[in-house]
């Protein structure tokens, strides 16, 4: 086993752990640019609806609010999971992670409902430049949440089996960074796609 430094939280305690956390922050930089580009394309194409509907015609406030509160809360609970992990409680960590993933799943269900609704009202992905970029931007975020769901599940299995050690703690912490980041992206989607579109 590698050297363990006990003066810092478990997730930072080996050199490898420290590198992974730093590397993941750099990766998040790339993700900022990825979603930034999608936003650039969205703002360019938002009024180019062709023969399809516009945002104001298809957005519904209820599912959007539901998604927002589900994701905000899940971001809070994954923060609590990391806090519990630092207190050394395996049970509390797993509980909070479980709640987080359940909220994530609920978010995805609402999003799938939303997508079906769009297709139903004639705003499928092939209808216009606007619907293409709308569904691609939302879909990219949704895909990230889906990947995050399975990733989180794998980490929960590992914590349950192997306990809290430098390795699982490191994975959980990095996962929490990812999950919080998806919330950041959602805030921008919520503000500049939905609310601006319905204003």
């Amino acid at each position: 086993m590698a050297k363990v430094d006990h003066s810092v939280p478990l997730e930072y305690s080996t050199e490898e752990n420290d590198l992974k956390i730093f590397g993941f922050w750099v990766f998040l930089g790339a993700e900022i640019m990825l979603f930034g580009t999608l936003f650039a394309a969205y703002f360019t194409l938002v009024d180019r609806t062709g023969s399809g509907p516009s945002g104001a015609e298809i957005f519904e406030i209820t599912p959007v609010l539901a998604e927002t509160f589900l994701l905000l809360t899940s971001s809070f609970t994954i923060g609590l999971a990391i806090h519990a992990m630092r207190l050394g409680s395996k049970k509390a960590t797993l509980t909070f992670m479980g709640i987080t993933l359940a909220l994530g799943l609920a978010f995805l269900s609402v999003e799938i409902y939303e997508f079906l609704h769009y297709v139903h009202v004639g705003a499928g992905i092939t209808v216009s430049a606007f619907t293409s970029i709308l569904l691609t931007t939302l879909g990219t975020h949704g895909l990230h949440v889906t990947v995050g769901f399975f990733w989180g599940l794998f980490i929960m299995i590992q914590i349950a089996k192997r306990g809290l050690n430098p390795e699982t703690a490191n994975k959980s912490f990095i996962f929490s960074l990812y999950w919080h980041f998806l919330d950041v992206v959602w805030i921008f989607i919520f503000s500049f796609i939905y609310l601006k579109g319905m204003m």
Binding site: A40, L72, S75, F76, L80, I187, F188
Partner: protein
């Protein structure tokens, strides 16, 4: 039980809910486009800052300046890209 709910994070969560409600005002109230956009920009960036600093502990390790520079550089490049793109393709086309 209370030890699992640190005050900082609970306050952060409450604050983020408040910011969401403030942002929702642009939907429920009649605002001009400019006012609305200002409200949305302020609330969105405050929320993002909240997540990065309180929830993601961006400033807790010895690499905090690298991490902050990374995020700031990222946001700066995104803003340049978005504003440049809109300038080229919409505002000055």
């Amino acid at each position: 039980m209370a030890k699992y709910f640190p005050l900082g994070q609970v306050m952060g969560f409450v604050f983020s809910l408040v910011l969401t409600v403030v942002a929702l005002l642009v939907y429920f109230m009649d605002m001009s486009m400019t006012t609305g956009m200002i409200v949305l920009l302020v609330t969105a960036f405050l929320q993002a800052g909240l997540q990065f600093i309180i929830f993601m502990h961006a400033g807790e390790s010895k690499d905090k300046w690298s991490i902050y520079s990374n995020i700031v550089y990222g946001f700066a490049m995104v803003l340049i890209t978005i504003l440049g793109t809109l300038l080229i393709l919409l505002w000055d086309m």
